[in-house]
């Protein structure tokens, strides 16, 4: 509705578009979620299948409430998060420094590049038999698989970003008598940070993808186990609830990494 009349300007109707622009970033995603839930509900009705085979949104909500109330959702989420965090941090802690060293040290890079490219396309899931044999049952094989899944993307993108740092920066460092340690902490690391943030984000996503598969094999907890266990009990509503929890936690993890982009000394990389 257009506001031609000056008196109308003060009316709520005319402020609505402004409120709308402010709320838009929240409103639109909610809208798409609502639409999916609606389609889900309708599809469930039209399918004519029983709720045990194809639970509707309401069944899932009831199941979710049960899982929350008996604490199992929390327990499984924490177990999964623990494994992802451990495996991912391990990958960051080893992959980034190793990438910096290999990016800098050309001989080392030539030495390992073939090996890295050879190991990289092997899916972490292909390691499952070996992981179970080596690490037994429990957290360890799962953490190992998650580590593998995020280690290679991180390593490769760190090497790539170090290779693409402007040589002028190294010359400036030499000009001001930087020690090798200072060159790493004050030149290489900040220079690659804008480039590796997307890699951190992608590899965390991959780690979260892999945790579910890893938990289907060797452990008795975690969201992956919840899915497997619920399937065995023919509780498809719980299966869906676990999937929903995985999605929600995935969004939250992604948000955490995106916050890193707000660091001021990273902003130059976006221009």
């Amino acid at each position: 509705m257009a506001c031609r009349n000056a008196e109308l300007v003060s009316l709520k109707i005319c402020q609505a578009p402004m409120n709308y622009t402010r709320l838009r970033p929240y409103l639109l995603p909610v809208l798409s979620f609502a639409a999916v839930v609606a389609v889900w509900g309708i599809a469930r009705r039209l399918s004519g299948w029983s709720p045990t085979v194809f639970p509707g949104p309401l069944d899932a909500a009831v199941g979710m409430w049960e899982l929350i109330r008996d604490g199992s959702l929390l327990k499984h989420s924490v177990a999964s998060l623990f494994r992802v965090t451990a495996g991912y941090y391990l990958a960051v802690a080893i992959g980034t420094p190793l990438g910096i060293v290999l990016g800098w040290w050309k001989t080392g890079q030539l030495l390992t590049n073939g090996l890295i490219q050879f190991l990289r396309p092997i899916s972490p899931l292909a390691w499952i038999p070996l992981a179970m044999l080596w690490f037994g049952i429990g957290d360890k094989p799962a953490i190992f698989l998650i580590f593998l899944s995020s280690f290679f993307p991180l390593l490769v993108s760190t090497i790539y970003s170090v290779n693409h740092i402007r040589t002028v920066y190294f010359q400036v460092a030499a000009n001001f008598n930087f020690t090798p340690f200072e060159t790493i902490t004050r030149v290489i690391f900040p220079a690659i940070l804008p480039d590796i943030l997307p890699a951190l984000r992608i590899s965390l996503g991959i780690a979260w993808l892999v945790v579910v598969a890893a938990e289907m094999i060797a452990v008795k907890s975690g969201l992956g186990y919840l899915i497997l266990d619920s399937r065995n009990a023919l509780r498809m509503d719980y299966v869906m609830d676990a999937m929903i929890a995985i999605g929600v936690i995935g969004i939250c993890l992604d948000r955490v990494i995106v916050q890193l982009n707000r660091i001021k000394s990273v902003a130059w990389g976006r221009t």
Binding site: Q171, N177, R186, P190, W268
Partner: protein, 266 residues
């Protein structure tokens, strides 16, 4: 101190990659693996001289400056600064790069502070950094990042960083590239004043013949690649200079233009 002696310096770049050679239409690159850039350069700059280096694009000006500053080794010949052979980069010869050398992840203040790294006293260091920011007119912009500054301000910040280090020799590789005409004139003036104040040797690379003649105590003109010294002029005109007041300067200007293949100095 800051006496520079360049003795018969030659520099060749070696192209290892065949693919890159084929892509390049330059006959020098196609015919062989070696690209001679500096061809027997002999020069001597006195302590405290402002030397302007002129030459066609791609002739090897940056290469020579990098060799003198120790970033690159000459293929043959030697460079002595204050009688000592240059072994590598050091904070005694600071380079202001053709394309910005500010660290984009540090604020102006943090960048300039790099020049004062050697100082032990925190307060003394802060005072010195502030003093040099004042000199280049960047007071109030200390906490911005380089990408938040204009091109001219970036050049000035880099200049401040170089000056804080108090080097024996300052290299400036086309420090005014990309600046507008007026800013360029102002920066020119600032550098002349600053040079009179600190009396350090400055090696100043430029494309602008008038700029070189107005600023330099000495003007060196190179030939096309491989670069040889074509002219090495000592200018003893006081500052501020302009071409109308000194007939001799006007004559030199014509000579330099002719040497560089332009017959009508406009």
């Amino acid at each position: 101190m800051g006496h520079i002696l360049v003795k018969d310096v030659r520099k060749e770049y070696v192209e290892r990659r065949g693919a890159r050679r084929r892509m390049n239409s330059d006959p020098d690159l196609r015919s062989g693996n070696h690209l001679p850039v500096l061809d027997g350069i002999d020069l001597e700059f006195a302590n405290g001289e402002l030397v302007c280096i002129l030459g066609p694009s791609g002739c090897g000006k940056t290469t020579l400056a990098r060799v003198i500053a120790g970033f690159d080794r000459p293929t043959s010949g030697t460079v002595l600064i204050d009688g000592e052979k240059v072994k590598g980069p050091s904070s005694e010869h600071i380079f202001v790069f053709q394309h910005s050398g500010l660290f984009p992840w540090m604020t102006v203040w943090e960048n300039v502070r790099l020049g004062a790294r050697h100082m032990k006293e925190k307060e003394e260091m802060a005072a010195k950094v502030q003093e040099h920011l004042d000199v280049v007119n960047l007071t109030g912009y200390e906490h911005l990042y380089p990408h938040q500054l204009s091109g001219g301000m970036q050049r000035r910040a880099e200049l401040a960083r170089a000056l804080v280090a108090d080097p024996e020799v300052l290299f400036m590789d086309e420090p005014f590239a990309g600046l507008d005409f007026l800013t360029r004139l102002k920066m020119r003036e600032e550098i002349i004043n600053m040079h009179e104040l600190i009396q350090k040797t400055i090696v100043f690379i430029t494309h602008d013949i008038d700029e070189a003649l107005v600023m330099g105590d000495r003007v060196v003109v190179f030939t096309e690649r491989p670069a040889k010294v074509r002219l090495d002029l000592k200018l003893e005109f006081p500052h501020p200079r302009d071409f109308h007041s000194y007939d001799e300067l006007e004559r030199l200007r014509r000579d330099v233009y002719t040497e560089l293949g332009v017959h009508y100095a406009l």
